[in-house]
């Protein structure tokens, strides 16, 4: 395997800041924060690194989210699971859905205990199905700190390190505000680095460039469901706010004000995409009465901020909208998990949140944050506990292992010239943004794009080490490229339409393809199939 061949031993003091930990968590969004708290509660010494800032980084902190919070009532739980199975293309796993519902209920109730101000209705009943991002994540940062976790903000991880047996043994990166490097030696690592939204400008999503996918892929990790990676969110054309709930009260029109037949946020988003191929699309939130309008402002005030600042009254004036690619952030593909501790296929490496596949609870579709939020807090909790448990076991008990670097893209001192990260980002975006390639998928369109992406990979894999001031952006660009190739290779291997993956040339769901697509490899991507969980009897009858 090329990973092994390229490996070289590195000096464990080869960084400005060197730290030992039982568990290293990479990423400080909700999944990483829950993982850090859970690992610490299990007795582990924990370090958490965030590319930006734990508490403000990621999609949740700035956008806020619903939560799949369902009381432990058998019929309500069953209805909650059944309601999503068709949308997700019957790829969910009832056992995992049940576990996530249980865990989410516990975790959200903990948030209330910790002081999160859930609202009460007029009868004094609490409502716990929505979380305001800034409040939620500021509270989580405090919990992480109170757990004794060592946090490094503004410290992007560049690569995972392994021991001689190939088990994960830490990571290293840079402290971009200090201008030096860090290295954490750890007995296990939780990747909670988020998904990949390809720098499309969605709210809080530009930190999510698939960095963890690249680092894990360099160690040979397997992914699952990467074809479910083409979620597009509606936003005002000029703005970043990709909050889509209120478009359920909208009318979408052509430039002349005529309604676009069939265009809708739910069940008509493809009509919006198709129209945007040739002309601008406008929208007015005209179906909300005055009471609803007031509730909207009190529910998601951030939806209105760019509109207010641009002088647009969205209830009375129309404004141009666009669709922004959210990739695997609102998609469901990610690292394949091998057991209930959220272990990946690489020893010592755990994955949580959008870094991991969410097919287990969502199948091939998520309609929004709700299920992803439940998954983040649940998988984070389990991955942290699992990583702490692994750290206690004999195999990893010695922190003093010889560390190896995979010397991936942009990290190889081979004498060759470095590549231009900005140019690579634009080249990848040109293949993944266009609706005609990624929304309306065909074998021809995907193959042609994949050929171009493969050529880009061939070009950068021989490039030299990036300079210190560009290495973070170079790794981000390479991660986007790696993600795009997993996406399209998987999309080609599913000649049917299921979940969010819609093939124009295979518009129907094919019962013979109710399986998971597993992808791995970087120079050569291989695809294999894994059976989906048995369908529940109720589903079969439906």
């Amino acid at each position: 395997m090329s990973v092994i061949r390229l490996s070289e031993t590195i000096d464990s003091n080869a960084a400005s800041l060197v730290r030992d930990a039982d568990v290293l968590v990479i990423g400080g969004g909700p999944a990483g924060a829950w993982a850090a708290c859970s690992a610490a509660a299990a007795g582990a010494q924990v370090a958490l690194v965030d590319k930006g800032c734990c508490g403000t980084s990621g999609a949740t902190a700035s956008a806020g989210t619903g939560v799949w919070y369902v009381p432990p009532d058998a019929s309500k739980r069953l209805a909650a699971m059944e309601s999503r199975e068709k949308l997700g293309g019957y790829l969910q796993d009832r056992a995992w859905m049940g576990r996530v519902l249980d865990r989410t209920y516990e975790s959200v109730n903990l948030l209330a205990e910790w002081g999160y101000p859930f609202p009460h209705d007029d009868n004094g009943q609490p409502h716990r199905t929505n979380l305001r991002g800034p409040d939620y994540m500021r509270l989580m940062r405090r919990r992480v700190l109170r757990s004794g976790v060592f946090i490094l903000d503004h410290s992007p991880a560049l690569e995972l390190l392994t021991d001689e047996a190939g088990a994960v043994a830490g990571a290293r990166g840079v402290r971009r505000q200090v201008g030096d490097t860090w290295l954490v030696r750890a007995k296990s690592v939780v990747l909670a680095s988020g998904g990949c939204a390809f720098l499309s400008g969605g709210l809080g999503c530009n930190v999510l460039t698939g960095d963890g996918y690249l680092m894990a892929a360099e160690l040979g990790a397997e992914f699952s469901g990467m074809e479910f990676s083409n979620a597009y969110a509606i936003s005002p054309a000029f703005a970043s706010v990709t909050k889509t709930l209120f478009y359920n009260w909208a009318t979408f029109t052509y430039e002349d004000g005529t309604p676009i037949p069939g265009a809708a946020s739910h069940g008509g988003r493809s009509v919006i995409a198709r129209t945007l191929l040739t002309q601008p699309v406008y929208c007015r939130i005209d179906k909300a009465d005055e009471r609803t309008q007031a509730l909207m402002r009190a529910s998601q005030p951030n939806f209105f901020v760019p509109l207010d600042r641009a002088g647009v009254d969205p209830f009375r004036q129309r404004f141009p909208v666009t669709l922004r690619l959210e990739g695997t952030v609102r998609g469901t593909g990610g690292l394949r998990l091998v057991d209930e501790t959220c272990a990946t296929t690489v020893p010592g490496l755990y994955a949580a949140g959008d870094a991991a596949t969410r097919e287990l609870v969502c199948g091939g579709f998520t309609g929004g944050g709700s299920h992803n939020a439940a998954w983040a807090m649940s998988s984070g909790f389990w991955a942290g506990a699992g990583a702490a448990d692994y750290a206690r076991q004999g195999v990893a008990a010695s922190i003093d292992r010889r560390l190896r670097s995979a010397r991936g893209i942009a990290l190889r001192a081979n004498g060759a010239a470095e590549f231009d990260p900005g140019a690579l980002v634009r080249a990848v975006q040109a293949e993944v943004f266009p609706y005609q390639i990624n929304y309306f998928r065909t074998a021809d369109g995907l193959s042609a794009a994949l050929d171009r992406l493969d050529r880009l990979w061939t070009g950068v894999r021989v490039a030299g080490q990036s300079s210190a001031d560009r290495v973070v952006k170079a790794r981000e660009a390479a991660a986007m490229l790696a993600t795009s190739r997993f996406m399209y290779r998987s999309a080609l291997a599913r000649p049917e339409s299921r979940g969010m993956h819609k093939r124009e040339d295979h518009p129907r769901l094919d019962d013979a393809q109710r399986h998971h697509l597993v992808s791995s490899g970087l120079d050569e991507i291989t695809i294999s199939r894994r059976p989906a969980a048995e369908r529940a009897p109720q589903e079969m009858a439906a």
Binding site: T56, P119, D135, Q177, W249, A288, S299, V305, P306
Partner: protein
């Protein structure tokens, strides 16, 4: 995109330098921080939210820079207007509306 660090309001606490997920600001000794990497701004408004003295202004355009005048923004009353989006957790006063999401029925 971030367009304004008000020198008259800024107290140089550098909170924005810490909380910006995209590392857009740079701290300056004995002076307000500067917008050092505006192209990286993702228009997430977190800096405005955390600024204790409402010295920052993020313009609504995400893809291009549209400079603003401090006088005009000050007059518009928009400085600090992102604060209502968060901080229900610690605000004893009622300037910050309680989350009403649960009352919004599906449409």
């Amino acid at each position: 995109m971030i367009e304004l660090v008000s020198e008259t309001r800024c107290i140089s606490c550098n909170k924005c330098v810490q909380v910006c997920p995209m590392n857009v600001f740079s701290a300056v000794k004995n002076a307000p921080p500067v917008i050092a990497r505006k192209d990286d701004c993702q228009t997430c408004y977190m800096c405005e939210l955390y600024c204790p003295v409402d010295a920052l202004f993020v313009a609504p355009d995400a893809a291009r820079s549209v400079p603003v005048s401090e006088t005009a923004v000050e007059a518009s009353g928009l400085l600090g207007s992102y604060r209502g989006v968060g901080w229900a957790a610690t605000q004893a006063n009622t300037d910050h509306p309680v989350d009403q999401s649960f009352r919004l029925t599906a449409h």
